[in-house]
């Protein structure tokens, strides 16, 4: 069984007529890196909210089906319990840092859990170090760059020791260098520590090289689910308005002209290697 099991979940926000999620099934295995994408309003954020119990505990509405997180049914466990298994990082770093130093912010979660002080200290130190924020721990968050703020937000969530990290468009306020910084941090957490990652993103050119799987949602349903090479070359992905990375489009253009690469490239570096192999063999 996966660490996250979404089983036939439908959800309609109270006061809304249309369901935001419509019979969603999704299973994520431990240590997987999954990208979730799809047009605006298709229900990505709502699905993220289901994973730590914000739906249905914080957002009320009509909830059907069930979500299991590390074996816990989200309907029967509270958000604070679930948040020790699934950490949510939101889009706007400003609204998820409440304290006047980074360190105090990272301590916030474990303090709420009422852990012993020594344990809190250990976790805070660990979280600050793996995110590279140790040197900046005494700085006020609002004096940091966007990328650093978002790293602080990730550290704050990691201090809860979750097995799964869910990030909802974490780079959209950042400049490209800041975005790259966050993505490589997330990739490293996934590789080195085996943390399961669900990343919501529109910009697949930067993110797909890291992904084991790409899930595309449309109108509250899961429309496509598979390895990036497969999903991003499918006709359906184009029809759903997924932004296909340029390397894949170039791959297809080359194929039309008879230059077939042995693999579907996900990054420019990979593509160049493939091309140079093929070209030199000829």
């Amino acid at each position: 069984m996966g660490i996250i099991e979404v089983e036939d979940v439908s959800f309609t926000y109270s006061g809304s007529k249309r369901p935001a999620l419509d019979h969603v099934d999704l299973s994520i295995k431990k240590s997987e890196f999954v990208i979730l994408t799809g047009p605006s309003g298709c229900g990505k954020t709502t699905l993220c909210r289901c994973l730590n119990g914000l739906v249905p505990h914080f957002y009320s509405g009509d909830f059907r089906g069930r979500v299991l997180v590390a074996g816990l049914d989200t309907r029967e466990h509270e958000i604070w319990e679930l948040s020790q298994h699934v950490g949510l990082v939101f889009q706007n770093p400003e609204n998820q840092l409440f304290c006047l130093t980074v360190e105090a912010d990272v301590a916030f979660g474990p303090e709420n859990l009422g852990l012993p002080r020594e344990e809190i200290r250990r976790r805070v130190e660990w979280a600050l170090k793996v995110t590279g924020m140790w040197e900046l721990r005494h700085r006020p968050p609002h004096e940091l760059s966007g990328g650093q703020q978002q790293r602080a937000a990730i550290a704050a969530v990691l201090a809860m020791k979750p097995e799964v990290l869910v990030l909802d468009e974490p780079t959209s306020f950042l400049d490209p260098a800041g975005a790259a910084e966050i993505l490589s941090l997330v990739a490293e957490l996934n590789k080195r520590l085996g943390i399961t990652v669900l990343l919501v993103e529109h910009r697949l050119d930067m993110t797909s090289p890291y992904a084991d799987r790409v899930v595309v949602m449309a109108k509250g349903r899961i429309a496509l689910d598979g390895p990036p090479e497969e999903v991003l070359t499918s006709r359906e992905a184009r029809e759903l308005g997924v932004g296909i990375p340029k390397v894949i489009r170039l791959y297809e253009l080359l194929a039309e002209r008879g230059l077939r690469l042995p693999e579907v490239p996900l990054s420019p570096g990979q593509m160049a290697s493939l091309i140079s192999e093929v070209v030199r063999c000829r």
């Binding site: 914080f58 958000i79 604070w80 409440f98 474990p110």
Partner: protein
Amino acid sequence: MSSLLEGLAFQKRDSLLHKLDPRVKLFYALAVMVMAGVHNKMLPLLVMLLAQAPLAALGKIVRLWARTLKASLPLVLLIIGTNLFFTWLRGSLTDLYIVEDILALAVRFLVFVASFSIFTLTTSPDDLSLALEQMGVPYSFCFMFRAALRFTPVMVREARTTMDAQRARGLELDKGGPIARARRYIPILIPLIVNAITRAWSMAEAMESRAWGASRKRTSLYVLRLRGRDYLAFSAVLFSLIMAFYAKFYLKFPYIIPIIRSALGI
């Protein structure tokens, strides 16, 4: 007004005063308030005001402290003005001693501002909320207080941006009569309110996701412990407080106007 608020905002410095336990500083601010409250004569109040200048220097905040005092001058003038006016109505403005008492009231107000600004300039809101927490104030209250301080500058910036965005659409804020002007603030107020609500909502969401409201008892990473210097400072403040009461009941302070007069030989 905004510089008065600015003068109350925490300034990060490396000073002895900053390192002092926030509870001691809170005690200091309250003690000065009581001392100034029980005295109503110019001489002791003036002493209290001047005695705080070295403290501001100790906290390396003299310039901001002085700016805060300067920013409160309009209020001081208001206090003096209204009092003078009512005294004049009663027809007793001829008495110079009464004028001195009125001026003493203004100095008392300055003493309040002075001590509070030393307190807030050297105490981070995080420390203050920690102090309140350890004194038994419920955590959710302390947190609210802290978050309000943290987000004030954010909201101010947002208000500026909104104003700019509407001016870029031709809104002219300072045109026409008072009612027309007030109406022109609607396009600024509505987005501000809507955004404040959205922000509160997404903050709440982020807090919930970090175990806010977990049923267990909360621990705090930081603990305030009183050290030698804190006891020393505390004793000094206590001593001053006792002295102030002693002075109030056993000493009679002369007016300073006759002293100045005789010194100048008028």
